[in-house]
């Protein structure tokens, strides 16, 4: 059941990030549903599943849109792994504030990594313009959406079929 959930989350996140939000947004600002899913799953799972979802979604988006493979996948993989390590060492977790803060921070970190990769690939850009125009508003939007998504995922994770069953699970990586 958990793996079905991961596949569904990946497909829905991909559809919204690649086709729905770029066409349906507020002045070019829309949340990053992949980041939101990665962070929420990392919080609930305490596993590398979020990183794997980020890697797969990132690679598919790279194939469709990027100049080079890894441009989108690397930031998502790093965010998923970082969230796993943070969650593993965190003793306290609430249901709203920390998940939103994590989604906001994860979005900022992802954009910093993306900017670094874009710079490496020879892109010319004004970081502070991009930060004020896109990064900050999108990070806030992602944090808001995180409240809803995390609430939904928390309910789903209450189901017994979502519990860990065997040692091949991501949790034992």
């Amino acid at each position: 059941m958990r793996y079905v959930f991961f596949v569904v989350v990946s497909i829905v996140s991909l559809i919204f990030t690649g086709a729905v939000f770029p066409n349906l947004n507020i002045a070019g600002i829309y949340p990053d549903l992949i980041i939101v899913s990665i962070v929420s799953i990392a919080i609930l799972e305490r596993s590398m599943a979020g990183a794997m979802i980020g890697l797969v979604c990132g690679l598919i988006l790279d194939v469709l849109f990027s100049d080079a493979i890894g441009v989108i996948a690397i930031p998502y993989l790093i965010i998923g792994a970082a969230m796993f390590f943070v969650r593993k060492n965190l003793r306290y977790m609430d249901r709203f504030v920390l998940p939103a803060v994590f989604a906001f921070s994860a979005h900022l970190v992802k954009e910093f990594i993306s900017a670094l990769i874009a710079y490496m690939l020879g892109r010319d850009f004004s970081f502070w313009f991009m930060f004020a125009r896109y990064i900050l508003p999108k990070a806030v939007f992602s944090a808001v959406i995180m409240l809803l998504v995390h609430m939904l995922f928390t309910r789903i994770y209450r189901a017994s079929s979502m519990k860990l069953k065997d040692s091949r699970d991501f949790r034992h990586l």
Binding site: M48, I60, F65, I74, F84, A115, S126, F129, M130, Y134
Partner: protein, 283 residues
């Protein structure tokens, strides 16, 4: 404390990032698609097209809700009577808008003998560091790398990657794009590059390599020069909005506002005739 090499998640992450970095370096600047890329793109292209069209209708619906408050009040009184017709009206409105856009596309004056194909935009790069978008035509429709993409307003960009049923377009406002153009009034040549600092919404172009005595002024029209062998001569690019000297004071430079509204491109024309043949036709 666990030694670094015993921390499996960390080691796996580091190895994966290194592998991806190697792949990134190997594939950057390479427009040749691998088999896997082509297959994945071909499978996802129809899904993207459907979703993009569906969300377009939703976006239009919200646009109408937020811009037509008076009509909305009136509609409240009639809602019970027209509810069943709303869906049909929405479809009709969408078709009408699409017809208008297609009619605008036809404004692009195609020289006799020059072949163009109409394509729909089916996806946009979700990463705002890049401006590329996907169209619903590919190898099976005769699309090739470097073919120019235009609409009724002017030059949009060029094809940079082709799959079986889809292709990737790099717009001229992308920072890695370069177009040779000249000012219609003065015939001064220059190179136009995307200006990333302003992003997609207020997309601008910077025209450089202009001679110091170039007599440009705001309002001057810029068109493609035909040099470089990618874009045929004479496609409208934009309008000069600002003229200044380069940092070294040796040349002039200008800010050009493109005619095309890059934030709202839905249909495009791909010129499938190669520039050399177009030159011959013009002669």
């Amino acid at each position: 404390m666990v030694p670094l090499w015993r921390n499996r998640p960390l080691m796996i992450t580091i190895i994966m990032v290194i592998v991806l970095l190697v792949v990134l370096i190997m594939t950057s600047g390479d427009n040749n698609m691998t088999g896997t890329e082509s297959v994945v793109g071909t499978v996802l292209a129809p899904i993207q097209q459907g979703l993009y069209r569906a969300t377009d209708a939703i976006a239009d619906f919200f646009a109408r809700v937020f811009t037509g408050s008076d009509l909305q009040t009136e509609n409240l009184e009639l809602r019970s009577k027209v509810a069943e017709l709303e869906g049909q009206l929405q479809d009709a409105d969408e078709t009408k808008q699409e017809n208008e856009r297609l009619r605008e596309l036809l404004n692009y004056e195609v020289e006799p003998g020059v072949e163009v194909v109409t394509a729909l935009v089916i996806g946009r790069d979700p990463n705002h560091w890049y401006d590329t978008f996907i169209i619903n035509l590919g190898l099976t429709d005769g699309i090739e790398i470097d073919m120019p993409v235009v609409n009724g307003d002017g030059l949009i960009g060029r094809i940079v990657e082709v799959g079986v049923t889809w292709a990737k377009v790099m717009p001229i406002v992308d920072s890695s794009s370069g177009v040779s153009g000249f000012v219609v009034r003065t015939r001064d040549n220059g190179i136009l590059n995307g200006s990333p600092a302003v992003g997609n919404e207020e997309a601008l172009l910077r025209m450089s390599k202009l001679v110091l005595d170039a007599d440009l002024m705001p309002g001057d029209m810029v068109i493609t020069s035909g040099q470089g062998g990618v874009f045929p001569k004479g496609i409208p690019i934009g309008e000069v909005t600002e003229v200044s000297q380069s940092d070294d004071g040796m040349r002039n430079q200008a800010v050009v506002t493109p005619h095309v509204d890059f934030a709202h491109i839905e249909e495009v024309l791909v010129i499938t005739t190669v520039p050399e043949e177009i030159e011959e036709l013009l002669e």
